[in-house]
Structures are given as structure tokens and as C-alpha cells.
Symmetry: C2
Subunit: 173 residues, 2 copies
């Protein structure tokens, strides 16, 4: 091989190698150059977290409406914690048993159920999803309306944290 | 040029062109192949939204502590809307003038200021950032403690929506 042909051969081989490497990374969903892990992985993590939280929220919504809380309770982690704003359960509580007690208490005071009438905003990142919504029902027979924010922490396929906040005085939403 | 050299020349040129194109895309932060816009653009949008909301929250925090609300008010859009949970300003309000009136009212009832003692969680997506925090101060001279969620909508470099929720009864946090 002449020196010129030698040079051309190695240059071609190098470019071919780089191209194949780049295509391989693209095929496996990595970004070429820079932080190869960041943006796709983050989007995937947000989507997974959102999926788990949305499933829990659907069960939560049906729990409020029907008093059937078991599907929601089945999604709670063993170390589940929750905060509630007012009344008998005001403050922090720990554990699934306490959660079961609380949500059955909710069913007992809203005997005709609570309807989530409008979801105002859903904000999600990799570990937490915040649902802002309006609800209404009858509390001990009296008209009840509220705006509520519920912040759900997701751990794997379970809900491990729940923080509820009231956006109204329970008389309008 | 011989046919073999002709072939080598065009093959080299093609690979060179593809490589330069790929490098150009990497240099401008685009992903090579697939949906070139999605993951990076989303991450960038979340980061921009977070930056604006964090600046507003820092002004909000100082506003609560000092009663100096102007830097926060300067970040509100002309069509700013806000919800507050209880009392005189319970419900929805529209406009910067109403916001100025409200936040000066806050300063008038918390004459010694309110301290945000702990930020518990910050959840951000492309348009909204939710801050969950504990605060405390003296309301009309009485000890006040709360857990609060404030959901801020970001429009460009302004805050266009504000929804406040209470996580406690104002007596513990």
C-alpha cells in the first residue's frame, strides 16, 4: 500500500468507528456528547412517577365518591406518612393502619360521598405529583365545598407520602 | 480520477458531511436521531420556569419576613390572579393592584413578620412550581404556625398565577 492509500485507509476506519459508536448510542437512546444520562432519563422518571400517582389519584377520587378505599390503600407503602390540615386528624400520621383508619373516618363523615368536580392543575417531577382540585359534598349533612391540593410522593410503584392542604374554608370552592 | 478513487472520494465526503452535521447538533444541544426536540427542551423549560419561580419565592419569603413586598409585586404579570384560603381575601382575585392591596394587608396583620422556617418540597414542571413550607410568626400578636403550599404559575419571566393552600389550622406546623 502506498503511504497516501495507507493514510486514507486509517482515516476512513477512524471515521467509520466514530460513526458506528455514535449511531449505537443514538439507537440505545443516549445523547451523543455532554451528560449522556440526563434529559431522557429525567423525562422517563417523571412519566413513571406520574403514571403511579395518577393511578393512586383515580382510586382516591373513587374512594371519596364511594367510600370504597381499599384500592387506594393497596397502593400505599408500608412506611406511608400523611399530613391532614384540620380536625381530629390534624398533623402528621405514620403507617398504613393509621391511613386506613383515617380514610374510613372520611367515609363516615361524608356519608353521601365527596365529588372531585374539577382538577385545576397537576404538577409532577421525578418523585412528587401535586394535584390541585375542587371538590364538594355534604359534611355531616351540611353543604361542603373546597379547593384542595394533595401532594403525593411516589416510591417505586407505591405512594409513600401524602400531604393535604385546603384552599378554601369548606364553604366555597 | 480512477473509478475506485472516485468512489473513495464521495464516500469520504458523505461520511464527513454526516459527522459534521451530527457534531453540529451535539454542539447546539440537540439529540442526534429520534425526537430531536423533546427531552432537552423539556428540561430547559423546567429549569427556566424553576429559575423565575425561585426568584419570586425568594422575594415572597423576604416580603413575609420584612413587609417589603415591592420586589415580589414587580414580578407579577398584569393579568396576575390569586386564590387565598380564608378570611377577608378568601377566594379568587384578579390584577396587580388587588395583589398589592392583599400583600400589604398581610404585612399589616403580621407586624413582626412571618418566617418561612423550612421548605419541605419544591415540585416543578414547565409552567408551575409548587412550594410546600412551614412558616411561623405572630398574627395580631398571637402565635401563628402553619404548613402552606403555594402554587406559582410562570409566564415568561413573570408570575401570572398564585394559589395558596393551608396545611394546618394556624396553630401548629
Amino acid at each position: 500500500m502506498s503511504p497516501a492509500r495507507h493514510f486514507t485507509f486509517w482515516w476512513l476506519s477512524l471515521i467509520l468507528l466514530l460513526s458506528v459508536t455514535a449511531l449505537g448510542r443514538v439507537a440505545t437512546g443516549q445523547q451523543v456528547g455532554g451528560d449522556a444520562r440526563h434529559p431522557n432519563d429525567r423525562s422517563d422518571a417523571v412519566a413513571r412517577t406520574m403514571q403511579v400517582a395518577q393511578r393512586a389519584f383515580d382510586h382516591f377520587r373513587r374512594g371519596l365518591a364511594t367510600g370504597q378505599w381499599q384500592p387506594f390503600l393497596d397502593m400505599l407503602s408500608d412506611d406511608f406518612t400523611f399530613y391532614f390540615p384540620t380536625g381530629k386528624y390534624q398533623g402528621l400520621h405514620v403507617g398504613k393502619a393509621k391511613a386506613a383508619e383515617f380514610f374510613h373516618y372520611v367515609a363516615s363523615v361524608f356519608t353521601e360521598g365527596v365529588q372531585i368536580t374539577e382538577v385545576l392543575r397537576v404538577t409532577a417531577d421525578e418523585k412528587t405529583v401535586v394535584f390541585e382540585f375542587r371538590d364538594e359534598g355534604k359534611l355531616h349533612g351540611q353543604m361542603y365545598k373546597n379547593r384542595v391540593a394533595v401532594s403525593l410522593d411516589v416510591c417505586g410503584d407505591k405512594i409513600c407520602g401524602y400531604r393535604e392542604y385546603f384552599g378554601s374554608d369548606g364553604k366555597s370552592n
